[in-house]
Protein backbone atom coordinates (compact mmCIF):
# COMPACT_ATOMS: atom_id res chain seq x y z
CA UNK A 1 0.00 0.00 0.00
CA UNK A 2 1.21 3.50 -0.85
CA UNK A 3 1.83 5.64 2.13
CA UNK A 4 -0.17 8.82 2.40
CA UNK A 5 1.27 10.85 5.24
CA UNK A 6 -1.72 13.20 5.44
CA UNK A 7 -4.13 10.32 5.61
CA UNK A 8 -2.07 8.60 8.30
CA UNK A 9 -1.96 11.79 10.36
CA UNK A 10 -5.70 12.09 10.03
CA UNK A 11 -6.19 8.44 11.01
CA UNK A 12 -3.98 8.92 14.07
CA UNK A 13 -6.02 11.90 15.26
CA UNK A 14 -9.22 9.96 14.66
CA UNK A 15 -7.90 7.16 16.88
CA UNK A 16 -6.90 9.72 19.50
CA UNK A 17 -10.34 11.34 19.65
CA UNK A 18 -12.14 7.99 19.77
CA UNK A 19 -9.82 6.69 22.48
CA UNK A 20 -10.43 9.77 24.61
CA UNK A 21 -14.18 9.30 24.16
CA UNK A 22 -13.84 5.75 25.51
CA UNK A 23 -12.10 7.14 28.58
CA UNK A 24 -14.69 9.89 28.97
CA UNK A 25 -17.46 7.32 29.08
CA UNK A 26 -15.68 5.48 31.87
CA UNK A 27 -14.23 8.37 33.90
CA UNK A 28 -10.81 6.78 34.37
CA UNK A 29 -8.24 4.72 32.51
CA UNK A 30 -4.73 4.15 31.20
CA UNK A 31 -4.55 7.40 29.29
CA UNK A 32 -0.79 8.01 29.15
CA UNK A 33 0.36 4.79 27.50
CA UNK A 34 -2.61 4.70 25.13
CA UNK A 35 -1.82 8.17 23.78
CA UNK A 36 1.87 7.46 23.20
CA UNK A 37 1.35 4.56 20.75
CA UNK A 38 -1.41 6.07 18.63
CA UNK A 39 0.76 7.12 15.68
CA UNK A 40 2.26 3.62 15.58
CA UNK A 41 -1.20 2.03 15.53
CA UNK A 42 -2.24 4.44 12.78
CA UNK A 43 0.72 3.43 10.62
CA UNK A 44 0.30 -0.31 11.28
CA UNK A 45 -3.44 -0.39 10.59
CA UNK A 46 -3.31 2.46 8.09
CA UNK A 47 -1.36 0.52 5.50
CA UNK A 48 1.61 -1.40 6.85
CA UNK A 49 -0.20 -4.46 8.16
CA UNK A 50 -1.61 -6.98 5.74
CA UNK A 51 -5.00 -7.61 7.33
CA UNK A 52 -8.62 -8.19 6.43
CA UNK A 53 -11.19 -6.88 8.94
CA UNK A 54 -13.82 -9.04 7.22
CA UNK A 55 -11.70 -12.12 7.86
CA UNK A 56 -9.89 -11.37 11.11
CA UNK A 57 -8.59 -14.93 11.59
CA UNK A 58 -7.07 -15.12 8.08
CA UNK A 59 -3.93 -17.19 8.70
CA UNK A 60 -1.61 -15.33 6.35
CA UNK A 61 -2.30 -11.95 7.95
CA UNK A 62 0.24 -9.88 9.80
CA UNK A 63 -0.08 -10.20 13.58
CA UNK A 64 0.15 -7.57 16.29
CA UNK A 65 0.93 -8.29 19.93
CA UNK A 66 0.43 -5.28 22.18
CA UNK A 67 2.48 -6.52 25.09
CA UNK A 68 1.80 -3.32 27.03
CA UNK A 69 -1.74 -4.62 27.23
CA UNK A 70 -3.03 -1.63 29.18
CA UNK A 71 -3.03 0.30 25.90
CA UNK A 72 -6.12 -1.69 24.96
CA UNK A 73 -8.38 1.37 24.61
CA UNK A 74 -6.19 2.78 21.81
CA UNK A 75 -6.17 -0.61 20.08
CA UNK A 76 -9.96 -0.87 20.32
CA UNK A 77 -10.50 2.58 18.79
CA UNK A 78 -8.19 1.59 15.94
CA UNK A 79 -9.99 -1.71 15.36
CA UNK A 80 -13.40 -0.04 15.42
CA UNK A 81 -12.29 2.60 12.91
CA UNK A 82 -11.05 -0.23 10.68
CA UNK A 83 -14.44 -1.94 10.85
CA UNK A 84 -13.67 -4.82 13.21
CA UNK A 85 -16.54 -3.72 15.46
CA UNK A 86 -19.28 -1.08 15.47
CA UNK A 87 -18.13 2.31 16.76
CA UNK A 88 -20.86 2.19 19.44
CA UNK A 89 -19.14 -0.80 21.00
CA UNK A 90 -16.34 1.50 22.14
CA UNK A 91 -18.70 2.80 24.80
CA UNK A 92 -18.62 -0.60 26.53
CA UNK A 93 -14.98 -0.32 27.63
CA UNK A 94 -14.73 -2.06 31.02
CA UNK A 95 -18.50 -2.13 31.49
CA UNK A 96 -20.00 -5.34 32.95
CA UNK A 97 -19.81 -8.20 30.47
CA UNK A 98 -17.81 -6.16 27.95
CA UNK A 99 -15.63 -7.54 25.19
CA UNK A 100 -13.31 -4.55 25.61
CA UNK A 101 -11.40 -5.13 28.85
CA UNK A 102 -8.62 -2.86 30.17
CA UNK A 103 -5.98 -5.25 28.85
CA UNK A 104 -6.03 -6.83 25.40
CA UNK A 105 -7.71 -10.23 25.24
CA UNK A 106 -7.70 -12.39 22.09
CA UNK A 107 -10.75 -14.29 23.29
CA UNK A 108 -12.90 -11.21 23.73
CA UNK A 109 -12.01 -8.69 21.06
CA UNK A 110 -12.19 -9.56 17.38
CA UNK A 111 -8.95 -8.40 15.80
CA UNK A 112 -6.80 -8.76 18.92
CA UNK A 113 -4.16 -11.39 18.16
CA UNK A 114 -2.79 -12.08 21.63
CA UNK A 115 -3.86 -11.82 25.25
CA UNK A 116 -1.58 -9.54 27.25
CA UNK A 117 -1.56 -7.69 30.54
CA UNK A 118 1.18 -9.37 32.55
CA UNK A 119 4.09 -7.29 31.30
CA UNK A 120 6.93 -8.93 29.42
CA UNK A 121 4.94 -11.91 28.24
CA UNK A 122 4.00 -10.52 24.83
CA UNK A 123 7.65 -10.65 23.86
CA UNK A 124 7.66 -14.45 24.04
CA UNK A 125 4.21 -15.04 22.57
CA UNK A 126 5.07 -12.73 19.65
CA UNK A 127 8.26 -14.69 19.08
CA UNK A 128 6.22 -17.91 19.12
CA UNK A 129 3.85 -16.47 16.52
CA UNK A 130 6.78 -15.44 14.35
CA UNK A 131 8.43 -18.87 14.62
CA UNK A 132 5.18 -20.71 13.94
CA UNK A 133 4.47 -18.62 10.85
CA UNK A 134 8.01 -19.17 9.61
CA UNK A 135 7.62 -22.94 10.05
CA UNK A 136 4.56 -22.74 7.82
CA UNK A 137 6.53 -20.63 5.33
CA UNK A 138 4.16 -17.69 5.54
CA UNK A 139 5.63 -14.42 4.34
CA UNK A 140 4.00 -12.37 7.04
CA UNK A 141 5.26 -10.26 9.92
CA UNK A 142 4.55 -10.28 13.62
CA UNK A 143 4.59 -6.79 15.11
CA UNK A 144 5.12 -6.30 18.81
CA UNK A 145 4.65 -3.20 20.94
CA UNK A 146 6.36 -3.10 24.34
CA UNK A 147 6.71 -0.21 26.75
CA UNK A 148 10.02 1.14 27.96
CA UNK A 149 8.91 0.60 31.54
CA UNK A 150 7.99 -2.93 30.50
CA UNK A 151 11.65 -3.46 29.63
CA UNK A 152 12.24 -3.75 33.40
CA UNK A 153 10.90 -7.28 33.02
CA UNK A 154 13.47 -10.04 32.65
CA UNK A 155 11.29 -11.84 30.14
CA UNK A 156 11.81 -9.00 27.63
CA UNK A 157 15.51 -9.76 27.65
CA UNK A 158 15.02 -13.52 27.59
CA UNK A 159 12.90 -13.02 24.49
CA UNK A 160 15.37 -10.54 23.00
CA UNK A 161 18.18 -13.08 23.29
CA UNK A 162 15.97 -15.85 21.99
CA UNK A 163 14.60 -13.91 18.98
CA UNK A 164 18.13 -13.06 17.87
CA UNK A 165 19.26 -16.66 18.37
CA UNK A 166 16.39 -17.96 16.24
CA UNK A 167 17.06 -15.22 13.65
CA UNK A 168 13.42 -14.15 13.74
CA UNK A 169 13.58 -11.51 11.00
CA UNK A 170 9.80 -11.69 10.67
CA UNK A 171 9.48 -10.08 14.12
CA UNK A 172 9.43 -6.27 14.35
CA UNK A 173 9.28 -4.78 17.83
CA UNK A 174 8.34 -1.23 18.75
CA UNK A 175 9.59 0.07 22.09
CA UNK A 176 7.29 2.86 23.24
CA UNK A 177 9.96 4.95 24.96
CA UNK A 178 7.77 7.50 26.70
CA UNK A 179 10.30 7.69 29.57
CA UNK A 180 7.65 7.20 32.23
CA UNK A 181 6.24 4.29 34.17
CA UNK A 182 3.54 4.07 36.80
CA UNK A 183 5.62 5.38 39.70
CA UNK A 184 7.52 8.09 37.82
CA UNK A 185 10.29 8.57 35.28
CA UNK A 186 11.98 5.37 34.14
CA UNK A 187 15.34 6.95 34.99
CA UNK A 188 14.23 7.36 38.60
CA UNK A 189 12.51 3.99 39.04
CA UNK A 190 14.84 1.64 37.17
CA UNK A 191 17.30 3.12 34.69
CA UNK A 192 17.15 1.38 31.34
CA UNK A 193 20.23 3.06 29.89
CA UNK A 194 20.50 2.95 26.13
CA UNK A 195 17.80 0.46 25.07
CA UNK A 196 18.90 0.61 21.45
CA UNK A 197 22.54 -0.19 22.32
CA UNK A 198 21.41 -3.02 24.56
CA UNK A 199 19.33 -4.55 21.77
CA UNK A 200 22.20 -4.16 19.29
CA UNK A 201 24.41 -6.10 21.69
CA UNK A 202 21.70 -8.79 21.84
CA UNK A 203 21.88 -9.11 18.05
CA UNK A 204 18.97 -6.93 16.95
CA UNK A 205 18.72 -4.45 14.11
CA UNK A 206 17.61 -1.21 15.72
CA UNK A 207 16.41 2.26 14.76
CA UNK A 208 15.51 5.17 16.98
CA UNK A 209 12.88 7.61 15.71
CA UNK A 210 10.26 10.20 16.69
CA UNK A 211 7.36 7.97 17.70
CA UNK A 212 4.78 10.65 16.88
CA UNK A 213 5.98 11.10 13.29
CA UNK A 214 3.92 8.79 11.09
CA UNK A 215 6.28 9.16 8.15
CA UNK A 216 9.28 8.22 10.28
CA UNK A 217 7.42 5.19 11.63
CA UNK A 218 6.42 4.04 8.13
CA UNK A 219 9.96 4.42 6.81
CA UNK A 220 11.41 2.64 9.83
CA UNK A 221 9.15 -0.38 9.27
CA UNK A 222 10.20 -0.52 5.62
CA UNK A 223 13.85 -0.39 6.69
CA UNK A 224 13.25 -3.05 9.36
CA UNK A 225 11.93 -5.42 6.70
CA UNK A 226 15.24 -5.09 4.86
CA UNK A 227 17.18 -6.39 7.87
CA UNK A 228 17.61 -10.10 7.12
CA UNK A 229 18.61 -12.78 9.58
CA UNK A 230 17.88 -10.76 12.70
CA UNK A 231 14.87 -9.36 14.53
CA UNK A 232 14.28 -5.65 14.31
CA UNK A 233 13.48 -3.03 16.94
CA UNK A 234 12.17 0.46 16.43
CA UNK A 235 12.64 2.68 19.46
CA UNK A 236 9.78 5.17 19.48
CA UNK A 237 10.71 8.35 21.26
CA UNK A 238 7.31 9.37 22.53
CA UNK A 239 5.57 11.54 25.09
CA UNK A 240 3.33 9.78 27.57
CA UNK A 241 -0.16 11.23 27.25
CA UNK A 242 0.69 12.88 23.92
CA UNK A 243 -2.20 14.86 22.46
CA UNK A 244 -4.39 14.66 25.55
CA UNK A 245 -4.20 18.07 27.19
CA UNK A 246 -5.16 16.82 30.64
CA UNK A 247 -2.55 14.04 30.57
CA UNK A 248 0.45 15.26 28.60
CA UNK A 249 3.25 16.57 30.77
CA UNK A 250 1.77 15.12 33.94
CA UNK A 251 3.89 12.60 35.77
CA UNK A 252 1.01 10.54 37.17
CA UNK A 253 -0.76 9.96 33.86
CA UNK A 254 -0.31 6.19 33.66
CA UNK A 255 -3.78 5.63 35.04
CA UNK A 256 -5.92 8.64 35.87
CA UNK A 257 -9.45 9.68 36.81
CA UNK A 258 -11.24 12.76 35.47
CA UNK A 259 -14.65 14.34 35.20
CA UNK A 260 -16.63 14.19 31.96
CA UNK A 261 -16.20 17.95 31.60
CA UNK A 262 -12.46 17.84 32.05
CA UNK A 263 -12.13 15.09 29.45
CA UNK A 264 -14.40 17.05 27.12
CA UNK A 265 -11.80 19.87 27.17
CA UNK A 266 -9.17 17.38 26.04
CA UNK A 267 -11.49 15.93 23.38
CA UNK A 268 -12.25 19.42 22.05
CA UNK A 269 -8.54 20.15 21.69
CA UNK A 270 -7.91 16.78 20.02
CA UNK A 271 -10.88 17.40 17.71
CA UNK A 272 -9.29 20.67 16.55
CA UNK A 273 -6.10 18.81 15.68
CA UNK A 274 -8.21 16.21 13.87
CA UNK A 275 -10.03 18.93 11.90
CA UNK A 276 -6.72 20.50 10.94
CA UNK A 277 -5.42 17.10 9.84
CA UNK A 278 -8.56 16.63 7.72
CA UNK A 279 -8.01 19.98 6.08
CA UNK A 280 -4.34 19.29 5.43
CA UNK A 281 -5.24 15.97 3.81
CA UNK A 282 -7.89 17.65 1.69
CA UNK A 283 -5.47 20.34 0.55
CA UNK A 284 -2.83 17.73 -0.29
CA UNK A 285 -5.16 15.99 -2.69
Amino acid sequence: MEKNIYELRYFAEQIRVETLKEFQELGFGHVGGSMSIIETLAVLYGGIMNINPQNPKWQDRDYLVVSKGHSGPAVYATLALKGYMPMEQLKTLNKPGTDLPSHCDRNHTIGVDMTTGSLGQGMSTALGLALGNRLDKRNNYTYLIVGDGECDEGQIWEGALSAAHFKADNLIMFVDANKQQLDGYTDDILSLGDISAKLVSFGWHTQSIDGHDVEAIWNAVEAAKEAKGQPSAIILNTIKGHGCTIAEGILSNHHMAFTKEKMQEAIDCAQKVLDAAAKAWEVST
Binding site: M123, L127, G159
Partner: protein
Protein backbone atom coordinates in the same frame (compact mmCIF):
# COMPACT_ATOMS: atom_id res chain seq x y z
CA UNK B 1 -10.71 -47.13 28.57
CA UNK B 2 -9.30 -50.58 27.97
CA UNK B 3 -7.15 -51.73 30.84
CA UNK B 4 -5.05 -54.88 30.85
CA UNK B 5 -3.09 -55.35 34.06
CA UNK B 6 0.21 -57.19 34.18
CA UNK B 7 0.16 -60.37 36.24
CA UNK B 8 3.27 -59.33 38.11
CA UNK B 9 4.47 -55.82 38.72
CA UNK B 10 8.00 -55.50 37.39
CA UNK B 11 10.44 -52.71 36.65
CA UNK B 12 10.05 -51.36 33.13
CA UNK B 13 13.17 -51.99 31.05
CA UNK B 14 12.37 -48.97 28.89
CA UNK B 15 12.82 -45.59 30.50
CA UNK B 16 9.82 -43.23 30.55
CA UNK B 17 11.85 -40.58 28.70
CA UNK B 18 12.65 -42.98 25.85
CA UNK B 19 9.00 -43.90 25.51
CA UNK B 20 8.14 -40.18 25.52
CA UNK B 21 10.71 -39.37 22.83
CA UNK B 22 9.77 -42.30 20.59
CA UNK B 23 6.08 -41.48 20.92
CA UNK B 24 6.64 -37.87 19.92
CA UNK B 25 8.76 -38.88 16.92
CA UNK B 26 6.01 -41.24 15.80
CA UNK B 27 3.36 -38.53 16.27
CA UNK B 28 5.47 -35.87 14.53
CA UNK B 29 5.91 -38.09 11.47
CA UNK B 30 2.16 -38.01 10.96
CA UNK B 31 1.45 -34.50 12.14
CA UNK B 32 3.55 -31.59 10.93
CA UNK B 33 2.20 -29.38 13.69
CA UNK B 34 3.92 -31.25 16.54
CA UNK B 35 6.79 -29.13 17.90
CA UNK B 36 9.06 -29.63 20.89
CA UNK B 37 10.53 -27.05 23.24
CA UNK B 38 13.00 -27.43 26.06
CA UNK B 39 14.99 -25.25 28.42
CA UNK B 40 18.43 -26.84 28.11
CA UNK B 41 17.36 -30.26 29.36
CA UNK B 42 16.91 -32.07 26.05
CA UNK B 43 19.75 -34.45 26.78
CA UNK B 44 18.47 -35.18 30.28
CA UNK B 45 15.06 -35.88 28.80
CA UNK B 46 16.53 -38.13 26.10
CA UNK B 47 15.11 -35.94 23.34
CA UNK B 48 18.18 -35.71 21.12
CA UNK B 49 16.67 -38.20 18.68
CA UNK B 50 13.69 -35.95 18.20
CA UNK B 51 16.02 -33.05 17.49
CA UNK B 52 17.95 -35.15 14.98
CA UNK B 53 14.75 -36.25 13.24
CA UNK B 54 12.97 -32.88 13.28
CA UNK B 55 15.58 -30.14 13.79
CA UNK B 56 13.31 -27.42 12.42
CA UNK B 57 10.56 -28.39 14.84
CA UNK B 58 12.81 -28.38 17.90
CA UNK B 59 13.20 -25.18 19.91
CA UNK B 60 15.76 -25.46 22.65
CA UNK B 61 15.18 -22.12 24.33
CA UNK B 62 18.19 -22.35 26.60
CA UNK B 63 17.77 -21.78 30.32
CA UNK B 64 14.73 -19.56 29.83
CA UNK B 65 11.69 -21.31 31.20
CA UNK B 66 9.43 -18.23 31.15
CA UNK B 67 10.30 -17.42 27.56
CA UNK B 68 9.85 -21.07 26.58
CA UNK B 69 6.25 -21.17 27.87
CA UNK B 70 5.43 -17.92 26.06
CA UNK B 71 7.00 -19.11 22.82
CA UNK B 72 5.04 -22.37 23.12
CA UNK B 73 1.82 -20.40 23.57
CA UNK B 74 2.62 -18.21 20.55
CA UNK B 75 3.46 -21.24 18.42
CA UNK B 76 0.12 -22.79 19.33
CA UNK B 77 -1.66 -19.63 18.15
CA UNK B 78 -0.41 -20.48 14.66
CA UNK B 79 -1.78 -24.03 14.88
CA UNK B 80 1.31 -25.79 16.24
CA UNK B 81 0.95 -28.39 19.00
CA UNK B 82 3.83 -27.67 21.37
CA UNK B 83 5.28 -30.04 23.96
CA UNK B 84 7.47 -28.04 26.36
CA UNK B 85 9.66 -29.82 28.90
CA UNK B 86 11.82 -28.93 31.84
CA UNK B 87 12.19 -30.21 35.40
CA UNK B 88 8.90 -30.15 37.33
CA UNK B 89 9.62 -27.17 39.61
CA UNK B 90 10.75 -25.01 36.70
CA UNK B 91 7.85 -26.14 34.49
CA UNK B 92 5.35 -24.98 37.11
CA UNK B 93 6.20 -22.72 40.05
CA UNK B 94 8.89 -20.81 38.15
CA UNK B 95 6.56 -20.05 35.25
CA UNK B 96 3.18 -19.99 36.90
CA UNK B 97 2.26 -16.57 35.53
CA UNK B 98 3.35 -17.47 31.99
CA UNK B 99 1.28 -20.67 32.11
CA UNK B 100 -1.60 -18.74 33.64
CA UNK B 101 -1.72 -15.74 31.28
CA UNK B 102 0.06 -16.65 28.05
CA UNK B 103 -1.25 -20.22 27.84
CA UNK B 104 -4.38 -20.86 29.94
CA UNK B 105 -6.05 -17.44 30.18
CA UNK B 106 -5.33 -16.87 26.49
CA UNK B 107 -7.03 -20.24 25.79
CA UNK B 108 -4.07 -21.58 23.85
CA UNK B 109 -2.97 -25.14 23.24
CA UNK B 110 0.14 -26.15 25.19
CA UNK B 111 1.46 -29.39 26.73
CA UNK B 112 3.87 -28.94 29.60
CA UNK B 113 5.97 -31.86 30.76
CA UNK B 114 7.54 -31.63 34.22
CA UNK B 115 10.09 -34.34 34.94
CA UNK B 116 11.45 -35.76 38.18
CA UNK B 117 8.39 -35.44 40.39
CA UNK B 118 8.88 -35.31 44.15
CA UNK B 119 11.47 -37.65 45.56
CA UNK B 120 12.47 -38.94 42.13
CA UNK B 121 14.55 -35.74 41.88
CA UNK B 122 16.80 -37.58 44.38
CA UNK B 123 20.38 -36.26 44.22
CA UNK B 124 19.30 -32.92 42.73
CA UNK B 125 17.83 -32.22 46.15
CA UNK B 126 15.31 -29.80 47.59
CA UNK B 127 15.69 -27.08 44.95
CA UNK B 128 14.68 -29.53 42.22
CA UNK B 129 12.16 -31.61 44.18
CA UNK B 130 8.63 -30.52 43.33
CA UNK B 131 6.08 -31.37 45.99
CA UNK B 132 3.91 -28.50 44.72
CA UNK B 133 3.91 -28.74 40.90
CA UNK B 134 0.53 -30.44 40.63
CA UNK B 135 -0.96 -27.98 43.14
CA UNK B 136 0.35 -24.97 41.20
CA UNK B 137 -1.18 -26.31 38.00
CA UNK B 138 -4.46 -27.39 39.63
CA UNK B 139 -5.17 -23.83 40.73
CA UNK B 140 -4.98 -22.49 37.16
CA UNK B 141 -8.47 -22.69 35.62
CA UNK B 142 -8.96 -25.18 32.76
CA UNK B 143 -5.55 -26.86 33.05
CA UNK B 144 -5.60 -30.67 32.86
CA UNK B 145 -3.24 -32.17 35.44
CA UNK B 146 -1.97 -35.74 35.02
CA UNK B 147 0.54 -38.08 36.61
CA UNK B 148 1.02 -41.21 34.52
CA UNK B 149 1.96 -44.31 36.44
CA UNK B 150 3.99 -46.20 33.88
CA UNK B 151 5.30 -46.02 30.35
CA UNK B 152 2.21 -47.58 28.79
CA UNK B 153 -0.04 -45.00 30.39
CA UNK B 154 2.33 -42.18 29.47
CA UNK B 155 2.29 -43.11 25.79
CA UNK B 156 -1.48 -43.33 25.72
CA UNK B 157 -1.97 -39.97 27.45
CA UNK B 158 0.59 -38.16 25.31
CA UNK B 159 -1.05 -39.52 22.16
CA UNK B 160 -4.50 -38.50 23.39
CA UNK B 161 -3.43 -34.89 23.87
CA UNK B 162 -2.74 -34.59 20.13
CA UNK B 163 -6.48 -34.50 19.43
CA UNK B 164 -7.40 -32.44 22.50
CA UNK B 165 -7.19 -28.69 22.99
CA UNK B 166 -6.04 -26.74 26.04
CA UNK B 167 -3.23 -26.65 28.55
CA UNK B 168 -2.00 -29.97 29.90
CA UNK B 169 0.51 -30.62 32.66
CA UNK B 170 2.03 -34.08 32.74
CA UNK B 171 4.53 -34.90 35.49
CA UNK B 172 6.70 -37.88 34.80
CA UNK B 173 9.57 -39.88 36.11
CA UNK B 174 12.31 -39.80 33.48
CA UNK B 175 13.92 -43.12 34.20
CA UNK B 176 12.70 -46.58 35.14
CA UNK B 177 9.23 -46.79 36.54
CA UNK B 178 7.42 -49.95 37.37
CA UNK B 179 5.25 -51.54 34.69
CA UNK B 180 1.67 -52.09 35.76
CA UNK B 181 -0.27 -52.03 32.52
CA UNK B 182 0.13 -54.31 29.52
CA UNK B 183 1.02 -52.68 26.21
CA UNK B 184 -2.07 -51.45 24.41
CA UNK B 185 -3.96 -50.39 27.53
CA UNK B 186 -5.86 -47.15 27.06
CA UNK B 187 -7.11 -44.67 29.60
CA UNK B 188 -9.73 -41.96 29.94
CA UNK B 189 -8.63 -38.57 31.20
CA UNK B 190 -10.91 -37.83 34.14
CA UNK B 191 -11.46 -41.50 35.03
CA UNK B 192 -9.60 -43.37 37.73
CA UNK B 193 -8.64 -47.03 37.34
CA UNK B 194 -9.59 -49.66 39.92
CA UNK B 195 -6.47 -51.84 40.13
CA UNK B 196 -7.71 -54.10 42.90
CA UNK B 197 -11.16 -54.38 44.35
CA UNK B 198 -11.86 -54.31 48.08
CA UNK B 199 -14.66 -53.52 50.52
CA UNK B 200 -13.14 -52.08 53.72
CA UNK B 201 -11.21 -49.05 52.48
CA UNK B 202 -10.14 -47.36 49.23
CA UNK B 203 -6.54 -46.29 48.65
CA UNK B 204 -6.17 -43.58 45.99
CA UNK B 205 -2.74 -42.89 44.51
CA UNK B 206 -0.79 -41.96 41.40
CA UNK B 207 2.77 -42.13 40.08
CA UNK B 208 5.32 -43.97 42.19
CA UNK B 209 2.80 -44.36 45.02
CA UNK B 210 0.71 -46.84 43.03
CA UNK B 211 3.14 -49.70 43.62
CA UNK B 212 3.35 -48.79 47.32
CA UNK B 213 -0.45 -48.86 47.45
CA UNK B 214 -0.65 -52.30 45.84
CA UNK B 215 2.02 -53.62 48.21
CA UNK B 216 0.10 -52.11 51.13
CA UNK B 217 -3.08 -53.82 49.95
CA UNK B 218 -1.28 -57.18 49.98
CA UNK B 219 -0.03 -56.57 53.52
CA UNK B 220 -3.51 -55.51 54.62
CA UNK B 221 -4.96 -58.68 53.12
CA UNK B 222 -2.77 -60.66 55.51
CA UNK B 223 -4.38 -58.70 58.34
CA UNK B 224 -7.84 -59.53 57.05
CA UNK B 225 -8.50 -56.10 55.59
CA UNK B 226 -9.86 -55.84 52.08
CA UNK B 227 -8.46 -52.70 50.43
CA UNK B 228 -9.58 -51.32 47.09
CA UNK B 229 -6.74 -49.67 45.15
CA UNK B 230 -7.52 -46.90 42.68
CA UNK B 231 -4.97 -45.35 40.36
CA UNK B 232 -6.14 -41.75 40.27
CA UNK B 233 -3.68 -40.52 37.64
CA UNK B 234 -5.95 -37.68 36.62
CA UNK B 235 -5.90 -35.01 39.35
CA UNK B 236 -7.85 -32.55 37.23
CA UNK B 237 -10.43 -33.21 35.97
CA UNK B 238 -10.96 -35.46 38.96
CA UNK B 239 -13.20 -38.53 38.97
CA UNK B 240 -15.89 -37.23 41.33
CA UNK B 241 -18.21 -40.12 40.60
CA UNK B 242 -15.68 -42.83 41.35
CA UNK B 243 -14.57 -41.08 44.55
CA UNK B 244 -18.16 -40.90 45.77
CA UNK B 245 -18.81 -44.53 44.83
CA UNK B 246 -15.70 -45.67 46.70
CA UNK B 247 -16.66 -43.60 49.74
CA UNK B 248 -20.12 -45.16 49.78
CA UNK B 249 -18.96 -48.72 49.11
CA UNK B 250 -15.86 -48.90 51.32
CA UNK B 251 -16.63 -46.26 53.97
CA UNK B 252 -13.03 -45.08 54.39
CA UNK B 253 -10.34 -43.48 52.25
CA UNK B 254 -6.56 -43.28 52.29
CA UNK B 255 -4.65 -41.12 49.82
CA UNK B 256 -1.00 -41.62 48.90
CA UNK B 257 0.98 -39.05 46.93
CA UNK B 258 4.56 -38.06 46.14
CA UNK B 259 3.54 -34.43 46.71
CA UNK B 260 2.55 -32.01 49.44
CA UNK B 261 -0.83 -33.00 50.87
CA UNK B 262 -1.66 -29.26 50.92
CA UNK B 263 -3.44 -28.66 47.62
CA UNK B 264 -2.37 -32.10 46.47
CA UNK B 265 -4.25 -35.34 45.88
CA UNK B 266 -5.40 -35.42 49.53
CA UNK B 267 -6.95 -31.96 49.22
CA UNK B 268 -8.54 -32.75 45.88
CA UNK B 269 -10.15 -35.94 47.16
CA UNK B 270 -11.11 -34.44 50.53
CA UNK B 271 -13.06 -31.66 48.88
CA UNK B 272 -14.90 -34.22 46.74
CA UNK B 273 -15.67 -36.53 49.66
CA UNK B 274 -16.83 -33.66 51.88
CA UNK B 275 -19.34 -32.50 49.31
CA UNK B 276 -20.61 -35.93 48.26
CA UNK B 277 -20.35 -38.60 50.96
CA UNK B 278 -18.12 -37.78 53.95
CA UNK B 279 -16.20 -40.74 55.36
CA UNK B 280 -13.05 -40.99 57.53
CA UNK B 281 -9.93 -40.21 55.52
CA UNK B 282 -6.18 -40.41 56.16
CA UNK B 283 -3.35 -39.19 54.01
CA UNK B 284 0.16 -40.28 53.08
CA UNK B 285 2.33 -37.64 51.46
CA UNK B 286 4.53 -34.68 52.24
CA UNK B 287 3.36 -32.63 55.20
CA UNK B 288 4.40 -29.05 54.41
CA UNK B 289 8.10 -29.82 54.10
CA UNK B 290 10.81 -29.03 51.56
CA UNK B 291 12.64 -31.81 49.80
CA UNK B 292 16.25 -32.74 50.46
CA UNK B 293 19.10 -34.53 48.76
CA UNK B 294 19.48 -38.29 48.83
CA UNK B 295 18.80 -41.54 47.04
CA UNK B 296 15.20 -42.24 46.15
CA UNK B 297 15.20 -45.17 48.57
CA UNK B 298 16.47 -42.95 51.38
CA UNK B 299 13.91 -40.25 50.58
CA UNK B 300 11.07 -42.76 50.38
CA UNK B 301 11.72 -43.72 54.00
CA UNK B 302 12.61 -40.17 55.11
CA UNK B 303 9.27 -38.81 53.84
CA UNK B 304 7.29 -41.96 54.73
CA UNK B 305 6.17 -42.64 51.17
CA UNK B 306 6.07 -46.37 51.83
CA UNK B 307 3.68 -49.29 51.76
CA UNK B 308 4.17 -49.61 55.53
CA UNK B 309 3.01 -46.04 56.07
CA UNK B 310 -0.04 -46.68 53.91
CA UNK B 311 -0.79 -49.75 56.05
CA UNK B 312 -0.48 -47.69 59.24
CA UNK B 313 -2.78 -44.97 57.93
CA UNK B 314 -5.25 -47.59 56.73
CA UNK B 315 -5.41 -49.23 60.14
CA UNK B 316 -5.98 -45.80 61.64
CA UNK B 317 -8.76 -44.88 59.22
CA UNK B 318 -10.48 -48.22 59.75
CA UNK B 319 -10.41 -47.67 63.51
CA UNK B 320 -12.28 -44.41 62.86
CA UNK B 321 -15.09 -46.12 60.91
CA UNK B 322 -18.31 -46.22 62.89
Amino acid sequence: MNIILKNNIVSDKTMMRDRYCNTLIEMAKNNKNIVVLDADLMSSMGMNNFKKTFPERTFNCGIQEANMIGVAAGLSATGKIPFAHTFGPFATRRVMDQVFISAAYAKLNVRIIGSDPGITAAYNGGTHMPFEDMAVMRTIPTVTVLEPTDGVMLIDLVKQTEKLYGVFYIRLQRKNPIAIYEEGSTFDIGKGVILKDGKDVTIFSSGIMVKESLDAADKLQEKGISARVVNLFTWKPIDSKLIETCARETGAIVTAENHNVISGLASAIASEVCSSYPVPMETVGIFDEFGEVGSQDYLRVRFKLTADEIVLKTLKVISRKK
